[in-house]
Subunit: 313 residues, 2 copies
């Protein structure tokens, strides 16, 4: 029996990962502070992972062979310097310890492209797992990097296989409304001006369903160490905002540069050789199709008078 | 009132640090799994810091303004790959969180020269805090580096001042008997051959009383970030073993090269500019005087028929 414990299973990325893991035949146990009604996992464990006793309780209750640890502090804008990043490293250590003590054999963590030194990337922004320097500029990046390096070094000493998916820039249905894609789409769908910054920065935007499927593929592989989760293609924030406004039917409502922002060009794009060749995963969405699916989901939600948090379709 | 909570207070380094902190006028609260009878601190808290509830219990009980966190897995030889290194990072996070929540304002951690990339040091082995690359080769080094970077990045977000003393190679009375200085001294004092490796590696050996005094000075300063704790002088293991055998009265009993070991020359020596100029600390012991004091303590203990763990004189 292959049973995977998924933390953050009711979140933006978690819902996509749970669906993909079930598609691969895993029995999925989710963790949430309050188990969501009717959501995708096979079983739910209600626990607060930041409670000192929470991680060991959940690991014992689940008795899983695999662990996909997605839970972390994620509030838009706030998470970069949230002191709770320290508590999430503590919870991560406690969780993997208890998981291994219970006989678990495979751990996958959610890392981030913010673990790389963005100022040291080449002009095309391509970051590679084994060669691009890590020098996180934020507490969030430092904490994710600490958890990543620590768990990978520790795992070898207890016979656990460990990998970290370094997530680039997820977007898609269910995203926090203040983030780029939903904020532009919701403004335009409501007939309001969509005000954004200059948008010169190039990023590797990856649809959340592809993120979830990639993390599931990583769980289901024996690949050890860090693996970028991106598309390998960069697009500027201005290009994305323009496409979203167009797909939402109001490109004329977009006000690029109306908000302040760095006019400095910078690029952060995944080298996807390990994801493609070692994990055997390729994204299903290109940017146009992914943004269209996201805007369509937001339009359907708006038409229903829905709230700010659309469900994954 | 300046009250410092010292973890590992009953250990090799802890006893020296406690004495130095009391000398600076601090009220010292020690933590130990079982409070030692009559040992140096003003108050003891009995707790297991690896218990999930241990760190918060101790931090609340002590209510200290300062924290010197020395406790870690330390078994000679074993600690490099001990899976408990992960648990010590967890305990460190929990401890500093609870300390800050209780109003504490100054944290000093015990780091290690093993956080540096030894293969990237210049031929004289001098490692500097701000310029020498960190790339720990062991789980111990990775864990200490993770705790160091994480706590320093976190501290800024909660208004706590944080520093890490990167300890080079402590020796002195009270050291574990299997380590270089006591093992050679005890063999020679007993009239046995003292068998060691080729001993070509150059290290910065620093007397434990100087380590403790330096950590106390760091606690008592406002210096933030990493600070090397060493002497700035290197000596080869062969030189140290020879001096110890001579001081123990039996240089003819030393068998350099009788045990296998790397014949590769390598050097790891502290750049002490920050310790000297920013913290204002200089070691009291040179190597000859420090080794003499250590051998004298071991001789006195042997004469009394003492056990394997001599007390700090």
């Amino acid at each position: 029996m292959r049973r995977v414990l998924v933390t953050g299973a009711s979140g933006f990325l978690g819902r996509a990962a749970v669906a993909a893991l079930r598609g691969r035949g895993y029995e999925v146990h989710g963790v949430a502070r309050t188990a969501p009604a009717g959501a995708g996992a096979d079983a739910w464990h209600a626990a607060d992972l930041l409670d000192p006793a929470g991680p060991a309780f959940v690991a014992r209750a689940a008795g899983a062979s695999h662990l996909l640890h997605l839970a972390w502090t994620t509030g838009h804008g706030r998470f970069w310097a949230d002191p709770a990043n320290l508590a999430w490293v503590r919870a991560t250590c406690a969780l993997v310890e208890a998981f291994a003590a219970g006989g678990g054999t495979r751990v996958v963590l959610a890392g981030t492209c913010a673990q790389y030194d963005w100022t040291a990337l080449p002009s095309d922004g391509v970051a590679a797992e084994r060669s691009s320097p890590r020098r996180p500029a934020t507490l969030y990046g430092v904490a994710k990097q600490a958890a990543d390096e620590l768990v990978e070094a520790w795992a070898a000493t207890v016979g656990v296989s460990a990998a970290t998916g370094l997530l680039f820039f997820p977007y898609g249905p269910g995203d926090q409304p203040a983030r780029l894609v939903p904020s532009v789409a919701l403004d335009v769908l409501a007939g309001r001006e969509a005000r954004v910054g200059p948008g010169t920065e190039v990023r590797d935007f990856v649809h959340v369903d592809d993120c979830g499927a990639a993390m599931a593929a990583l769980v289901d592989s024996e690949v050890a160490g860090p693996v970028n989760v991106g598309t390998g293609h960069g697009a500027s924030v201005a290009e994305v905002a323009t496409a979203v406004a167009r797909l939402a039917g109001g490109e004329h409502l977009l006000r690029l540069g109306a908000l302040p922002g760095s006019a400095e060009r910078s690029a952060v794009v995944a080298d996807v050789a390990r994801l493609r060749d070692d994990v055997g995963f390729e994204p299903r969405y290109d940017l146009e199709r992914g943004l269209r699916a996201t805007v369509d989901a937001l339009r359907a939600l708006s038409a229903r008078g829905g709230g700010s948090r659309p469900a994954t379709p």
